[in-house]
């Protein structure tokens, strides 16, 4: 029987950013209910946050370990179905491993883990348990990027030659980690963020999107990483040349010191006959360019889009969906897949289209490769997984 899935959240208490986003994403489609949470490592914050979210008192936990243990002892028709891990990077691995060990599926914010070794360990655990693990590479949830992926896969543009992915932000242009920005503080702290700053936070999104839409893999890269803001401990900017496994080349730009930019991720892919151009600021539009015909404006919700874009859209063309819906598409497809499996059904390929452990592992490999390249005087560094 299909039913709402029960989610337990780890992290995401008062004043957290991404936890609130995950909850909205889980709410939108009415497929998931937030059942319990270990919302903060601070006991009082955990409790207050749980009350804010109308959790039952006995489902508000003050540690993830407590939550996983106790939930696993509840009856099957009461206990949570999966955990959503929305803590900083260094606090992904242990709860994810423990949740899997106790039979809970996992949704986890990106990047997957603190380092590559943890990623490999998680991958092994997922394989052992057969449980689902989704990584929230949000941007791949946009319907127009799914349209682009489908058109490329179907050969509309011939062989792909060029991929430009850029992700400029400006919010770290000053030394804000010293002045109370909680979001900035952990992202620029090597003990919580890992070996990369900008490249871990947004470079991984960019690399994932380039590979997701093109269907290609990065094989080599050449990185110039910078720390422009004095006092900062990790990179806040990077320019990277890319080589792909089919001979295509490309550029990845990620910056958190592009002063005045918001969150302007944009992807362009060109093949022999044409290409696609998408930017988040106009997320319901996909420009489809052709060598010898007018550019076409593909739009979310239109009758002519393919099965993947259609499946990931809620309202007709002209009613803009955005970031929260893109994020929700990951939760929705994860839920549809999980509900299908619970009922012994085969999920459709559209349902299965969400980022999993494999993409999470590649993200961690990207971080390792790009940091290694930045330190090298050689032009090309191999992207190893």
């Amino acid at each position: 029987m299909k039913r709402k899935l029960r989610m337990g959240m780890i992290g995401g208490g008062r004043n957290a950013f991404i936890g609130a986003v995950h909850r909205i994403a889980a709410n939108i489609d009415g497929l998931i209910e937030l059942t319990c949470g270990a919302l903060s490592s601070n006991e009082e914050n955990a409790k207050l946050s749980g009350k804010d979210l109308f959790l039952a008192d006995d489902r508000i936990y003050t540690s993830y370990a407590d939550m996983i243990t106790k939930e696993s002892q509840l009856p099957a028709d009461v206990r949570m179905d999966f955990v959503s891990i929305v803590t900083p990077n260094h606090l992904h691995f242990e709860p994810a491993m423990m949740a899997l060990a106790h039979g809970f599926h996992v949704v986890i914010d990106k990047p997957l883990s603190f380092d590559y070794e943890q990623a490999v360990a998680l991958q092994k655990k997922v394989a052992e348990t057969g449980l689902l693990l989704a990584v929230t590479h949000t941007y791949s949830g946009y319907p127009m990027l799914k349209q682009a992926k489908q058109m490329i896969a179907e050969g509309a543009f011939g062989k792909i030659r060029k991929i430009y992915i850029e992700y400029p932000q400006g919010w770290l242009s000053n030394f804000v980690e010293s002045s109370g920005s909680k979001q900035a503080a952990w992202r620029t702290d090597p003990k919580r963020s890992g070996i990369a700053g900008c490249m871990g936070d947004i470079g991984t999104h960019a690399a994932h999107l380039a590979e997701y839409v093109s269907g290609l893999h990065i094989t080599h890269l050449c990185a110039d990483l910078q720390t422009f803001v004095e006092g900062r401990h990790l990179d806040d900017d990077g320019n990277v040349l890319l080589k792909f496994n089919n001979g295509a080349t490309g550029v990845l730009i990620a910056s958190q010191v592009a002063a005045g930019e918001e969150n302007a991720i944009r992807l362009r892919v060109y093949g022999e006959k044409g290409g696609v151009d998408w930017c988040q600021v106009d997320s319901n539009t996909l420009l489809v360019k052709w060598l010898d015909k007018p550019t076409e404006i593909y739009r979310t919700g239109s009758g002519y889009v393919g099965s993947f874009a259609a499946h990931n859209t809620r309202v007709p063309a002209g009613h803009p969906e955005g970031y929260l819906e893109a994020f929700a598409n990951i939760y929705r497809n994860f839920s549809l897949t999980l509900n299908a499996k619970r009922n012994g059904e085969t999920p459709t390929k559209e349902m299965l289209d969400f980022p999993t452990i494999a993409e999470g592992v590649r993200g961690m490999a990207f971080i390792d490769s790009v940091v290694a390249s930045a330190k090298s005087t050689e032009k090309w560094t191999e992207f190893k997984v």
Copy 2:
């Protein structure tokens, strides 16, 4: 004590469009749970639709009268708090009146009712009962339009002179009501839609938005309504000249035969010193124009926006929110106001900022005035409420 509010939905069963939108809007912020429903006048559809939405069997009703009666007999901590009415226009009035009579608050899709007389009766009932009634004029939920309204109210542009509101759609360019489009069928049927087609469906949105953002009232109008598609029974297009109560003039364009347009509502307001320009296709941008300075691009989620825009935004600048979030802002403010009142608190002015019965009544008066003007050979027809 604050808690999730319990919603009962009337209409919105399988294959309905706007009912699904209402549910998403109610879901997003985790402030409301769908508790019960009379989702269709067809008994089987009502039941299947209820199961689709994971409603408890005993909260799936097969008529709104049954739902209102039975819910009113449930204990206070179990029964629904409010109804959401998402049926075609001719089925708004009776359930709304009955819900109010039984002490339930109401959210109701626009236009408020089938005719102006019903609207006045509803207004009287709301006044008698002291209950809340919200009308879902969605577009006023967009944060950048709230920003525009606040800047205009604060006098940023001096006295307002010009208002251009346009709402072109193309989906009724052919005689689709004859070929199975359920959405087209009732909207073009005088028995279900009322005396206006295009003007009732989208003209009322346009008129509301012009008045909401400018803070002005339409006093006179001059309408040219057309039915371009042969066989159609109601207007599918209209051009209207407007006069406002401060001497400003304007134009309202609404069309459902602008072939190739999606849902392209756009508002421009100009005062003595500058003006604003907003269109739904780029809904997170407000162009703020000045006589002698560069145009400024105001963006949802930015630090510099006013209290109303900030209150109605969930994520930082650069993470696009859209139609569903604008819709959700009405449900959110309705819920915050209701929860505040339940707890004996005074709602903030930002919470109270959602369309109520007064706006609903003006919408019905607009329909009457615009249809009267279209039939008149006089240039100006008074807008009477």
Copy 3:
């Protein structure tokens, strides 16, 4: 034998705006040389302006009458071929009549004349003499509007239903005619401008463009004209409902008090199957919209455009042409037509595509009709020519 045509300019001395534009337009394609001028009614200004432009001393005149008389006495291979009249409206008629009477072709800025009677007299004179007269309705010179016209004429969109033409400017938002703006002063002076202000200056452009691109004629209109700025003597704003001779309806907006707008003329035309959308701010783009297919972005200079757009373009796609080139297209086509006739050749239909006396007369009729409508309490006023 083809040769550069010799132009004599009337008006356009130092500090004039439109005279300089006419000279650039005449220069661009190397088909015309400025040979002589009566550039100002002020003798000293006329002489200094002539020297600025490197005119020979004996071709600098201090009155148009002097120029026309003396040039007509020069040998055929020396004297000017045509005059370009760039004076304020009240100074169009006499020089145009005199030039025609002396056998000179005429280019004349819009609106054609001070009043409708002059227009009719000019039309008679042109017919009598068989000379060419071009009116510089600039916007019809844009290649992408020619593309729109050609697609509409070829039936690409089926029968036309809706025409929206808008032309908002903001430069007259204040009482600038009192503070030294020469451009504002004559345009707002009934003795120099005629019976209309905004409607004569830019409304005529808008009306012409709507008719030019659609191939239709306005038959009735309903106007609301305003003078928003205190002390001003003519309209500075207007909203007009339109009916066309095929049953299409439309709206014409023209304002010079839309504070913050530059010169934002935009045209949209919709037929049964799709439509076109063009705005001067992005003048090399024509959005071609379709009921059930993606919108296409037609671009100046592309290989797929029709013969009219191609003929009026100088550089490949991606090298933006603008206002001056659109203006130049009128001079170019006028010159090509004139040179063809001089050589006994038949001009192509593309060469003949420039606004002539007929369009000039319709412009003056528009002014009469729109002012009459504004004074009427009847909804519809006939557009009479």
Copy 4:
């Protein structure tokens, strides 16, 4: 005494592309007349082309050497003032050297020469003769880029950190040099184009623009050049990492196989407090971005722009100028400077703002450096001049 300057053109006969552009650019402002030409190395084409342009028979030459020799023997008030060289790259050097040697100023299309050695020789000759030499790096002629340069120079954005310059085209996506495209044929031929294809043709524009606007110099680069189209002899694509002399870093993208792109050059520069964003497709707009304020839309022709943008604009805001006017700005400033010098006046800094031999030499050095880097396995190659 100021007078029209007399231009002799080398190259640019029938069917040439860039020669026609140079002529329009020289025509627009009425400061230059085309007096003579050696328009083709083919004698008949030279003669027919000269007649097309209405040149006097005795000023139509069939070789540049003939033209330079004979013109130098004409009286001072008859002979040409300067030559404009619009031939393929391998035919720049000799005529430029000869013109300088005979006392003629020079305008020359980019890149300056066939190789770096020629560039240095030309630089020496210019220094010896004291004559003017302008290189037509067109894009620096756009007023909004001059505005950007001025704001950066005045410190509006603090220290510059990031420069992204991109120049995607698609017209060489197929092997068109084999099928009759004259433009493609010489650009992809090492004997006529030099050691670089795409990088010489458009990469030099991009590098120049980045340096011009930022006021910085590239010191190191890391290039990945590709030849995607089989059979082609030179690069048709490249991605390049950049380092600048103040510590800023950047990316240069140039491609002629970005299928579906026209000529989409775009520049973004970011400093500590904000930045600028300009693209040719919307060339009259400069987006000025700020860390904590709304983005501002600067527009050509507005009252608030600086002296350089104002000087290079012909019409008020809202009357779009484009590529031909940007090109014309180089000819105009060259002419104003030359006329000032002829009259013993000091040219203003705005007049002197056109690309000269120094920029031409840096362009050739860029080609050498980028090709060297592409061949190297080292990450960074020094940019040497």
